[in-house]
């Protein structure tokens, strides 16, 4: 039974980690866009 729960938890851990990476990339990109806008103005 433990292996079952570990497998399900691991699956969601992998997906949530990837979603976290995507969110961080979005934030970084938004920061770069704002910097570009600031340098233009």
């Amino acid at each position: 039974m433990n292996f079952l729960y570990i497998a399900y938890a691991a699956t969601w851990l992998i997906h949530i980690t990837y979603l976290g990476v995507l969110v961080r990339r979005y934030q970084h990109l938004r920061h770069e866009i704002e910097e570009l806008k600031r340098s233009k103005s």
Partner: protein
């Protein structure tokens, strides 16, 4: 259209929760393996989703390469059409089909290849297809990682070992390594030829997918024989839960791909603007 994304996200969350309930509670317990067999409902749909994403990556890579040349583009169009027709004819004419192939699945796969090819061609331009190739490779690697993690967690209590170097397991690991190398090439290569090299690598990488899929029919492996499409049998209630979980993971993969695609396009636009700015700077400073 902007509202469609959050609605789809909520529906996917509901579907994933329902699929989880079905897998852990509603599905019948397997007699030999007991509850640990329920890993099946995450392991198999993740593998199918990864294969589908790698297949889309394969189609996008071909399109990125052939669209650079009009003749190659025309030839590729005809190959896609002929492949669809040939699969349907083969499903009707050839008896018996090689092991692991059902007439309906051969015809459906052939038509799906043709349909997907023209669907991507219709909705994604050359660079759009390249962006979609990156996205599907990345999300495919995530799902393939789930397969490689849940597999040993299922194998340990059932086989008594975490891993064995049999063909199905090894070819899946090789598949994962190929697409990780694809992503590393895209991430670290600064050459202008990177998309072309990556597309060529992806086409060779995709050749491993049929090897992974058919390995259990062709070779003697430790991995269980297929329960769907290979002469095996599965309890209809288990099949129902399996398909619900696959649908839920497909919706989840579509959501992630959509977000990642938007990120990829934004990133490329930003890089273009930055290059233009860099080119204009020396002129303005003169």
């Amino acid at each position: 259209m902007k509202r469609a994304f959050p609605i789809f996200a909520v529906l996917t969350a509901v579907l994933l929760s329902y699929a989880l309930y079905e897998a852990l509670v509603a599905a019948p317990t397997e007699q030999t393996m007991g509850n640990v067999q329920r890993i099946f409902y995450y392991h198999v749909p993740s593998a199918w989703t990864a294969f589908l994403l790698f297949f889309i990556n394969f189609v996008c890579s071909i399109q990125y390469l052939v669209r650079r040349d009009k003749v190659a583009d025309t030839i590729a169009n005809w190959v896609a059409i002929v492949l669809g027709i040939a699969a349907c004819v083969a499903a009707i004419v050839i008896r018996p089909l090689p092991s692991g192939m059902e007439p309906s699945s051969v015809a459906t796969t052939g038509l799906a290849i043709t349909g997907l090819y023209f669907l991507i061609k219709r909705y994604f331009s050359g660079t759009g297809a390249d962006a979609l190739a990156v996205v599907t490779a990345e999300v495919g690697v995530v799902f393939c990682t789930v397969v490689l993690v849940t597999g040993p967690l299922w194998a340990r209590p059932v086989w008594g070992i975490w891993w064995t170097w049999d063909v199905r397991l090894t070819s899946t690991l090789v598949l994962w390594l190929i697409y990780v190398s694809y992503l590393m090439l895209r991430r670290f290569s600064t050459s202008g030829q990177t998309p072309v090299l990556a597309a060529a690598l992806a086409i060779f990488g995709a050749l491993d997918v049929p090897l992974v899929y058919f390995s259990i029919w062709i070779f003697r492996t430790q991995h269980p024989q297929p329960v769907i499409g290979g002469g095996g049998s599965i309890d209809p209630r288990m099949l129902h839960v399996l398909l619900i979980n696959w649908l839920a993971f497909l919706c989840f993969a579509a959501l992630i791909c959509r977000s990642r695609y938007r990120l990829e396009i934004l990133q490329r636009e930003l890089e273009e603007v930055q290059v233009l700015e860099a080119l204009q700077e020396p002129r303005s400073s003169r």
